[in-house]
C-alpha cells in the first residue's frame, strides 16, 4: 500500500477554509463545523469509506479558540491524521486530547495579542486618521490587520503541519509566555496614551470669577483646576471605574448607556460641555 501523503495543495485549501472557521458558530459546539470543514481537504486525501466517516465525526466535536491561532492546530492535527492513516498508533482519544489541550494555551496567547493589542492599536491608528475623512484611515487598519492575520493563518497551517506534535511541547514554553507579555506591555502603553489623547471631557463649570490687579478678568473653571493638577485625570478615573464594573460582570452596553446618561445629565446641569 502506497503511503498516504498530504499535498501542498491540500494545505493551501486548509488555509483558505481556515478563514471561515467561525462561519457556522453555534452555542452547542461552537466552531465544530468550521473546524471539520477546514480539515476536509486533508481528511479526504488520507481516508476513505468508514475511516473517513469516523474522521469527520471526530472533528465535529466541540472546538473553540482564537480563530487565527486555530490554523496551527489544523496543521498539527493534519500531520497526526496523516500518520494515523499510515498505520501509526494514534487513538481518537489522543487526537481529541491534543485538540482540546491546545484550545486553552493558544487562545491564551492569541486573545491578548490579536484582540488585545494588534487590533485595538491598528484600529485606533486607522480611526484617528479616519476622523479627518481620509480613506487612508480605513486602509491602514484593513491592510495592516489583514496582512498580519493572513500570515498567521498561512504560517500556522504550514508550521503546524511540518512540526506536528513537536509543536505541542513548545506551546507551553517560555517563548509563548514572552510573546504574550511583550504584547501586553506594548498594548498597555498604547492604551495609556489613548486614554489621555483620544478622550474629551470639558467641565466649564465656573468656580470663581474676579478682576485681578491688572484689571484682567480671570475665570477659574473646574476644568482649569483639573488641568493644572493633571490633565485627562477624569477620563483616567472613568477608565478605572469601567474596568471595575466590567470585572464585576456588568454588561458593556449597560455601562455605555450609563455614560450617555452621565453626558446628558452633565450637560443639563452645566457641569459638562
Amino acid at each position: 500500500m502506497a503511503e498516504k501523503k498530504v499535498t501542498k495543495d491540500d494545505l493551501f485549501w486548509v488555509f483558505v477554509r481556515s478563514n471561515f472557521l467561525l462561519g457556522s458558530f453555534n452555542f452547542e459546539r461552537m466552531q465544530a463545523i468550521g473546524f471539520c470543514v477546514s480539515m476536509i481537504p486533508i481528511l479526504k486525501r488520507v481516508y476513505e469509506g468508514d475511516e473517513l466517516k469516523k474522521a469527520l465525526r471526530r472533528h465535529l466535536e466541540f472546538f473553540n479558540t482564537q480563530p487565527f491561532v486555530a490554523a496551527a492546530i489544523m496543521g498539527i492535527i493534519g500531520a497526526m491524521e496523516e500518520k494515523k492513516a499510515n498505520g501509526a498508533d494514534i487513538s481518537e482519544a489522543t487526537l481529541s486530547g491534543v485538540k482540546v489541550g491546545l484550545i486553552g494555551p493558544l487562545a491564551g496567547v492569541g486573545d491578548p495579542i490579536f484582540w488585545g493589542t494588534i487590533r485595538p492599536v491598528l484600529a485606533a491608528l486607522g480611526a484617528g486618521v479616519a476622523l479627518t475623512g481620509s480613506l487612508i484611515g480605513p486602509m491602514i487598519f484593513f491592510i495592516g490587520f489583514n496582512a498580519i492575520r493572513l500570515a498567521t493563518h498561512w504560517y500556522g497551517v504550514q508550521y503546524g503541519y511540518s512540526q506536528g506534535t513537536a509543536l505541542v511541547e513548545n506551546i507551553g514554553g517560555n517563548q509563548m509566555h514572552f510573546l504574550t507579555e511583550g504584547a501586553s506591555v506594548l498594548g498597555l502603553l498604547v492604551m495609556g496614551a489613548l486614554v489621555a489623547k483620544w478622550t474629551t471631557v470639558n467641565m466649564p463649570l465656573v468656580i470663581s470669577e474676579y478682576d485681578n490687579s491688572a484689571g484682567e478678568h480671570v475665570v477659574t473653571t473646574l476644568q482649569s483646576i483639573l488641568d493644572s493638577l493633571m490633565p485627562s485625570i477624569v477620563p483616567l478615573l472613568m477608565t478605572f471605574a469601567c474596568m471595575y464594573l466590567l470585572k464585576k460582570g456588568v454588561n458593556a452596553l449597560t455601562i455605555i448607556v450609563g455614560l450617555f446618561i452621565i453626558g446628558i445629565a452633565g450637560y443639563a446641569i452645566g457641569l459638562m460641555a
Binding site: 472557521l21 467561525l22 462561519g23 457556522s24 453555534n26 452555542f27 465544530a32 471539520c36 470543514v37 476536509i40 469509506g49 466517516k53 469527520l56 465535529l60 491564551g108 486573545d111 491578548p112 484582540w115 488585545g116 485606533a124 486607522g126 480611526a127 484617528g128 479616519a130 476622523l131 475623512g133 480613506l135 484611515g137 480605513p138 490587520f145 489583514n146 509566555h177 514572552f178 504574550t180 507579555e181 511583550g182 501586553s184 506591555v185 506594548l186 498597555l188 502603553l189 498604547v190 492604551m191 495609556g192 496614551a193 486614554v195 489621555a196 471631557v201 470639558n202 493633571m230 472613568m238 477608565t239 469601567c242 458593556a252 452596553l253 452621565i262 453626558g263 446628558i264 450637560y267 443639563a268
Partner: protein
C-alpha cells in the same frame, strides 16, 4: 441599484461579524463601505472612525460575544446619510443598534445548532459536501440578519415620519450625547486593559498615559516606545529565569534569592 449594493455590503459585514477575520464588520470599514454605496463616503469614514473608537474593546473572546458592530455601523450610516442626522446622533443610535444586532446574532447562533446536528448526520454518510453546506448555511443566515434589517431601514429612512421622529429629539439629549461621545471610548479601553489583566504590567499603562499628557508624541511614536519597553521587559524576564535556574542547579546554599516570577497570573 443602491438597494442591491447595500444588500451586498450588509451581507459582507454580517459574514464578517461572525467569522471575525477580515474585519469588514468593524465600524471604520463597514461605515466606509456603506457610505460609498450611499454616495457619501467621506461621511461614512468620519462616522466609522468615531464609532471605531467607541467599539475598540468590542471583541469575541472565548464564548463571550461582542456587541454587534456590523448592524450598528451599517444602519447608523444609513440614518446619518439618508436620514440626514448628525454624526453625534449616529453614534448615539449605534448603541441600541449594537444591542439589537447582538440579540439577532444570538438568535442565529442558536438556530445553527440545528445545522450542527444535520452535519452529524452527513458525517455518518461520509458526505463532505453536506457538512460544507451546513457551514455555508450558517454563514448565510449571519449575513441575512444584518442585510434584511439594513435594507428595511434604508427604505423608510428618507421618509418624513422617521425624520420627524429623529428631529424631535430635544437639544439637551443630542448635545448631551455629543458630550458623552467624548468619553464613551473609555469602556472600550477598559475592556482591552482587562483582557491583558496583568496588574504588575500596569506601570506601562501609566507610562503611556503620562507621556501622552505631557508630550506631543503621536501614536506611531507610542508604538515604537511600546516595542522598546516590551523588548526590555522580555530581557528582564529572561534574566530572572536564568538567575532562578542558576540558583536551582548551582545549589549555592540560597545565596541567590530566586526572583518571584509567578506565572500563575498569565491569563
Amino acid at each position: 441599484m443602491t438597494l442591491v449594493l447595500l444588500f451586498i455590503v450588509a451581507m459582507i459585514t454580517g459574514f464578517a461579524s461572525v467569522v471575525d477575520e477580515a474585519q469588514f464588520h468593524r465600524p471604520v470599514i463597514a461605515c466606509t463601505m456603506t457610505g460609498a454605496v450611499l454616495g457619501d463616503m467621506t461621511t461614512g469614514i468620519i462616522l466609522g472612525g468615531t464609532l471605531e473608537m467607541m467599539a475598540l474593546g468590542w471583541m469575541n473572546v472565548g464564548a463571550a460575544m461582542a456587541p454587534d458592530a456590523a448592524l450598528a455601523s451599517v444602519v447608523s450610516t444609513i440614518l446619518v446619510i439618508v436620514g440626514h442626522q448628525s454624526i453625534g446622533a449616529g453614534i448615539a443610535l449605534a448603541v441600541p443598534l449594537a444591542a439589537a444586532g447582538q440579540v439577532l446574532t444570538i438568535f442565529v447562533r442558536t438556530i445553527t445548532v440545528f445545522f450542527q446536528h444535520l452535519a452529524d448526520k452527513y458525517a455518518e454518510d461520509g458526505n463532505c459536501r453536506g457538512i460544507e453546506m451546513c457551514h455555508i448555511a450558517g454563514l448565510l443566515l449571519q449575513g441575512l440578519r444584518v442585510a434584511l434589517p439594513s435594507v428595511a431601514i434604508y427604505m423608510v429612512a428618507g421618509t418624513d415620519t422617521v425624520n420627524n421622529a429623529l428631529n424631535s429629539i430635544p437639544e439637551v439629549i443630542t448635545r448631551g450625547l455629543q458630550v458623552a461621545g467624548g468619553f464613551i471610548v473609555v469602556v472600550g479601553y477598559a475592556m482591552v486593559i482587562n483582557l491583558m489583566d496583568a496588574s504588575k504590567l500596569m506601570v506601562y499603562f501609566f507610562l503611556g498615559f503620562l507621556l501622552a499628557v505631557f508630550t506631543d508624541i503621536n501614536l506611531i511614536g507610542f508604538g515604537a516606545i511600546g516595542a522598546i519597553c516590551a523588548y526590555f521587559h522580555i530581557q528582564t524576564m529572561q534574566q530572572n529565569i536564568n538567575i532562578e535556574e542558576a540558583a536551582k542547579t548551582g545549589g549555592g546554599g540560597g545565596a541567590v534569592e530566586g526572583d518571584d516570577i509567578d506565572d500563575s497570573d498569565l491569563m
